[in-house]
């Protein structure tokens, strides 16, 4: 008998604003592949294709993707919403939980699996309605999103309640597990780390017939890529500071910034202040083909996150064959050895590493080849196997 899971998510690609949707999709697909029956709930009807699982939409009103991105900070939320509809992220989360009661009654499942605080109330409601066990997946905590600038106590309270009420917690890294242990007072026996992954077969034989960045490369420029939301958490300011330092030693470099966010104007101003605005390209938010082209064109990817529960982009970069410098304050650094690592604040060390990769082709080649090979082991299939073990443990089923 396959295990039947009622899963609460917030977003799925292509209607996603970041790693949460990508991770939910990759994990669900691999779980389905390993014979898990998934009923996947989303807050609102969106055009998503995922025929390996049953999609259910909670149809909450007023919910307007992408206004309620899981990364949105409250002050930027739209204001003029009718009162009976979701006015802000919190009311959307509460409406989602309300709808979860009917959904929980309607479907047949053994276990409930909720992704991040946005879905924790929905999971808790389903748990109360059905008396089925709840497991929670932690892709990020409020301590990551705050980037060291303080937390929202309401979000923290929801996170803590979800973790307290669940029978098992799956953080995406030991890095995140340690945050949970430190700040949420959870019994470590309940915590099972499940690292994110990729589908290695998606990275075979990727060739661009033409790439918009070819012209730069033909002109002899090296391309160093930053890819992520322009928020405190992702450390774009450290990237630009390292860029300015690196340009002193390797002038023929373009620093490509992909992503948008509340620090966008601040970053453009910083590039001007540092006197490197002619060497920094702000490409905005990219997805799909253009995103892949950015990965492939780049000579080096830099992820200077201040606090990164996992860091999918680094894994994607390495799988693409683009060497990566990753922050030591990241979960992905637990899974990759064939990358360069630096503390996010260590602009000097990051500069040393950037210039070295650009200067020494043999270093670039070794990182590229070994990293790509190593990334194959960090797969969604491996993550799914660990997740199934957690389900079995919770359901009291013994492994054969």
């Amino acid at each position: 008998m396959p295990i039947k899971v009622l899963m609460f998510g917030w977003e799925l690609p292509p209607c996603n604003s970041g790693g949460l949707g990508t991770a939910c999709y990759g994990l669900s697909q691999a779980l389905a592949n390993q014979n898990v029956d998934i009923t996947f709930v989303l807050p609102q009807r969106v055009n998503v294709k995922a025929d390996f699982m049953r999609l259910v939409f909670a149809d909450i009103q007023g919910f307007n993707w992408p206004d309620f991105s899981p990364y949105a900070s409250f002050k930027y939320l739209p204001k003029n919403f009718p009162p009976e509809m979701a006015r802000d992220l919190f009311s959307a989360v509460n409406l989602y939980a309300k709808r979860a009661a009917d959904i929980a009654k309607k479907y047949n499942y053994d276990i409930i699996h909720s992704h991040d605080w946005l879905c924790f109330p929905a999971g808790i409601v389903a748990q109360q309605v059905s008396s089925k066990p709840l497991v929670t997946h932690v892709h990020a905590t409020e301590f990551d999103r705050g980037g060291g600038q303080g937390i929202n106590p309401m979000v923290y309270a929801v996170e803590k309640m979800g973790m307290d009420k669940s029978e098992a917690i799956m953080p995406v890294s030991n890095f995140t597990k340690n945050i949970i242990l430190k700040h949420y007072q959870i019994d470590s026996a309940k915590i099972n780390v499940v690292h994110n992954g990729i589908n290695p077969e998606e990275y075979v034989n990727q060739i661009d017939e033409s790439n918009p960045l070819d012209a730069l490369k033909k002109a002899g420029y090296k391309i160093v890529l930053f890819l992520g939301r322009l928020t405190m958490q992702k450390g774009p300011d450290y990237f630009l500071k390292a860029a300015a330092r690196s340009l002193e030693y390797y002038p023929k470099t373009v620093f490509l910034v992909v992503g948008s966010g509340d620090m966008e104007n601040q970053m453009i101003n910083l590039a001007v202040q540092l006197g490197i605005s002619d060497k920094v390209l702000f490409a905005g938010f990219l997805r799909g083909q253009m995103l892949n082209q950015a990965f492939r064109a780049a000579d080096l990817f830099v992820m200077p996150s201040v606090s990164e529960p996992f860091g999918m982009t680094a894994l994607e970069s390495v799988a693409t064959g683009t060497p990566a410098i990753i922050s030591k304050q990241s979960g992905v650094s637990e899974t990759l050895g064939h990358v360069l690592k630096a503390d996010f604040w260590d602009v000097d060390e990051m500069t040393n590493q950037i210039v070295s990769v650009l200067n020494y082709p043999s270093l670039h080649k070794s990182l590229k080849e070994n990293g790509k090979e190593e990334s194959k082991n960090v797969s969604w299939q491996a993550a799914a196997s660990k997740t199934i073990n957690v389900y079995k443990k919770v359901l009291g089923r013994k492994k054969k």
């Binding site: 030693y249 064939h338 060390e349 200067n359 020494y360 270093l363 080649k365 070794s366 190593e374």
Partner: protein
């Protein structure tokens, strides 16, 4: 009758400090990591002296006093002798005390424990000469038997060493070379007349060096009587058992609490309990025992890893790049007559730098990781490549001022 030859390798490199792009052109001190750093050569040497060299030398000295038949051989690299003089003169004195007994033979090697034989025979010969001069100065001896860095060996080296006047050479008793033959005889390198080839019995040697404290090993725990039985079992089917290993096996790779010192303390008496066993030094073995056959080593063989080849030091693109760039500077550096520059360049020839860049087993976290003071092979390469850039700049500057 079975001879037993114990030879211990004593070596510590000059590790390169975290040398960054900003240092190029500004800082010419490549090896002076601050105290407390994993790359501090002084710290490492003093720790190894305290944990391994001093206590092991003490045991060996007791054994030499207790058993008049006991003999042992060492090879000390030039760079370890240099560091002993500077950082642990008491440990150097204890080696001198051992040699003064007359029953301790010192072997010859390249001063810098380098891969120079592979890249430059001139540099190789120069480093061998430097090493002999150091041995003469510190120990008043002239070594007659050679061991190359990490037992790297092939036929041509045997021929070259014969021409240089050596009596013998040590090599790994690798299965793929020996095939059906036994490592427990003296052989003759292909194309030579008089020089002898002594092969490491890697099973027995590695039982001590690698497996001694491994609880997962079926023979754990290893005791001196048990080991002596294994050695004695070869009586009648071999002339000599060569037990070659790193000296740091005692106290550093195998910690004191594993019982390694007690094992060593009891080993000679257990071996001598069997009347056919006797100890020899390499020179004595080569004089006494016949060369049973010619042995063909067409390619480089070493004592490292399961491959027993040179892929721990060379073969990945960083290692090959670093070595090519290093030896491309050889003639310009030597012509400069700048003694500090020459010494710095030569310290960069030490094989350990290339070992640190090895990516073969990096993610598995095995011995390579254990022996790597850098966080990754990539960090090791970055420091090395940056230093080479600085050496190049120093050369360019010298040319301008001339």
């Amino acid at each position: 009758m079975s001879a037993i030859c114990l030879y211990f390798q004593v070596h510590q490199p000059y590790r390169i400090k975290k040398y960054r792009v900003f240092d190029i052109g500004n800082d010419h001190n490549y090896f002076d990591s601050p105290d407390g750093s994993r790359l501090s050569n002084k710290d490492v040497l003093q720790k190894v002296a305290r944990k391994s060299y001093l206590p092991t030398n003490q045991v060996i000295l007791e054994l030499l006093k207790k058993h008049p038949e006991f003999k042992v051989a060492y090879s000390l690299s030039g760079v370890v002798m240099e560091q002993l003089e500077e950082y642990a003169p008491d440990a150097l004195a204890s080696f001198q005390e051992l040699v003064a007994t007359g029953r301790v033979e010192l072997l010859s090697e390249t001063y810098y424990h380098s891969l120079s034989y592979i890249f430059s025979k001139d540099e190789f010969k120069a480093q061998v000469k430097l090493h002999s001069q150091m041995i003469k100065r510190l120990f008043k001896k002239i070594p007659k038997v050679f061991r190359n860095t990490e037992l790297i060996y092939k036929n041509e080296l045997g021929q070259d060493l014969e021409a240089m006047g050596y009596e013998g050479i040590l090599a790994e008793g690798a299965d793929h070379v020996l095939e059906w033959r036994s490592p427990n005889f003296i052989y003759k390198p292909v194309g030579t007349q008089n020089i002898g080839l002594m092969l490491k019995n890697y099973r027995l040697s590695d039982d001590i060096a690698f497996r001694f404290s491994n609880p997962g090993w079926t023979e754990f725990p290893l005791t001196a009587p048990k080991f002596a039985r294994w050695v004695s079992a070869f009586n009648g089917s071999g002339d000599i058992i060569n037990l070659f290993m790193d000296y740091e096996t005692f106290g550093e790779h195998q910690w004191e609490d594993t019982g390694i010192f007690e094992f060593l303390r009891h080993l000679p008496q257990e071996l001598l309990r069997h009347r056919d066993n006797y100890f020899v030094t390499p020179s004595q073995a080569l004089k006494k025992l016949p060369k049973v056959a010619e042995l063909n080593f067409p390619n480089f063989v070493s004592w490292a890893d399961v491959e027993r080849d040179i892929s721990a030091w060379l073969g990945n693109s960083m290692q090959d790049d670093a070595a090519a760039k290093l030896y491309a500077l050889e003639s310009a550096v030597l012509k400069s007559r700048d003694q500090k520059l020459i010494s710095d360049w030569r310290r960069l020839t030490t094989s350990d730098h290339f070992y640190y860049m090895c990516t073969k087993w990096f993610s598995d976290g095995d011995v390579h990781k254990y022996f790597n003071p850098y966080d990754s092979p990539y960090e090791a390469f970055i420091a090395y490549a940056n230093v080479l850039q600085d050496v190049k700049l120093r050369l360019e500057k010298l040319h301008k001022t001339k």
